[in-house]
């Protein structure tokens, strides 16, 4: 189902069923279409009100051979994604309010309907445009607070989350890299470094898994919603803070935390929100391994057409980005920021 015309009548029926009448749909527009999900914005008339909403559908994944390591990554989609966002919101993390979880009789597959959260996700604008200056000032404090609260969530309330700690994660990306059979000495070095420097006995918490600019809907002075929870898992909480500081996710900004702030400000705000004290070496592990991981993801994108037989301009471009994080990783090894 790729066309808005097929989608609209089913969506309208789902809105009527779950949210209210008359449920008339307008302005249906595709926002993103990723490998694991697609999102659409639309308005629905409920009573006399016109609500701005978002539909998130778990899309069908390309068929992968059984045992393919690419199929192993824990993915939180559909009703689980909705439960994750609801639990996060209850813990004080800004997440899109979930209005309805789709049911089989909706005929739309897995997914949910959320309130539309207005704001900016494009990093380049958040980092440079004047209206985001107040946000840039408090960005590290806000991120520290959000992650501190998220990491205190009780995991037992989210039974579908899979354990994905440091050792499991490094092992996973080793298998993904091996399956691609495209030997890269710099990646090999990165993986061996990660195995040698694994944080042992780390705490386990509910982690977002992809906490960075691009997945934060921002207003002029506040982060309004954390989106894209599909990589949520039970992991090392420091992972979320390190990933936010990976050079790729600084988008050219001069400072480590999202390109906007110093690590100290993030760590202090994290503690204040109930997070643990974090050792800088531990944080650096996740920054360095984050670069290696992104390099493997680029390699995966660059080889995707060989596996799926389909190629896009964007895929090819991401494939050509592999050396960016590898260069950064080597800089980190050499002691540079």
């Amino acid at each position: 189902m790729g066309l808005a015309e097929d989608l609209a009548p089913r969506l309208e029926a789902a809105v009527r069923r779950h949210i209210g009448a008359p449920g008339e749909i307008g302005d249906l527009r595709r926002l993103t279409g990723g490998a694991t999900k697609a999102t659409w914005s639309f308005t629905a008339t409920i009573g006399a009100e016109k609500l701005p909403l978002v539909l998130q559908l778990a899309s069908l994944r390309p068929a992968l051979a059984p045992g393919d390591p690419l199929a192993e990554l824990p993915r939180v989609v559909g009703a689980e994604d909705a439960a994750m966002m609801t639990a996060a919101a209850a813990a004080g993390v800004p997440a899109p309010p979930v209005r309805a979880v789709l049911a089989p009789e909706d005929g739309l597959g897995g997914g949910c309907i959320m309130d539309f959260v207005a704001g900016e996700t494009i990093a380049r604008r958040i980092l440079r445009e004047p209206q985001f200056a107040p946000l840039r000032q408090s960005f590290a404090v806000q991120c520290g607070g959000i992650l501190g609260r998220l990491h205190r969530l009780t995991p037992t309330a989210l039974p579908f989350l899979r354990p994905f700690g440091a050792a499991e994660q490094v092992a996973h990306y080793c298998r993904v890299y091996d399956a691609l059979d495209h030997p890269q000495p710099a990646i090999e070095l990165g993986l061996r470094w990660a195995l040698d420097h694994l944080p042992r006995g780390h705490a386990t918490a509910v982690v977002h898994g992809d906490f960075r600019l691009g997945n934060l809907i921002c207003g002029g002075d506040a982060i309004r919603a954390v989106i894209d929870w599909e990589l949520a898992a039970l992991g090392d909480p420091v992972q979320d803070l390190g990933w936010l500081c990976v050079k790729t996710w600084r988008f050219g900004g001069p400072l480590p935390v999202g390109g906007m702030a110093r690590r100290e400000a993030l760590l202090a705000a994290y503690r204040e929100a109930g997070g643990a004290a974090i050792d800088v070496t531990h944080l650096r592990f996740w920054e360095a391994f984050g670069s290696v991981k992104w390099a493997i993801m680029c390699l995966m994108k660059g080889r995707e057409h060989r596996r799926t037989g389909r190629s896009t301009v964007e895929q090819m471009a991401i494939g050509r980005r592999m050396e960016e994080p590898l260069f950064d990783f080597l800089q980190l090894l050499a002691g540079e920021d």
Partner: protein, 118 residues
């Protein structure tokens, strides 16, 4: 090939320039984004055609010296990857790190030269 033909990198530069100046401003949203990315990729191909052969040859020579053996670029990279995995070369070997820094920097000079200036 006849010497009179336009050189591939020059043709790419002309095509890129046309897309960038004449086509891109007429597009929106999705199409704008994809043509913009395509224009960047054409610039990458152009740089690869001009710089790739020398960079590959230098990489191959460095690999051969590091491994003390000869082979194609693909064979030598596979051999080095395996040596790293099996611990036959130390992670902090200065020759290894120099080689990898040089190789990733040369690739960035083709794929995204701006990254080096950051």
């Amino acid at each position: 090939m006849p010497m009179t033909l336009s050189l591939a990198p020059d043709m790419l530069a002309t095509i890129r320039d046309y897309l960038q100046k004449e086509i891109l401003p007429t597009l929106d949203d999705d199409k704008w984004f994809n043509v913009k990315v395509a224009v960047n990729l054409l610039a990458t191909i152009e740089r690869e055609l001009r710089q790739g052969p020398a960079a590959d040859e230098e990489e191959r020579a460095r690999l051969a010296a590091l491994l003390g053996t000869s082979g194609t670029l693909g064979e030598l990279n596979r051999a080095l990857a395996l040596a790293i995995r099996e611990g036959r070369i130390a992670l902090d070997d200065p020759g290894l790190l120099d080689h990898l820094r040089q190789t990733t920097a040369d690739a960035l000079r083709i794929n995204n030269p701006q990254w080096l200036g950051r």
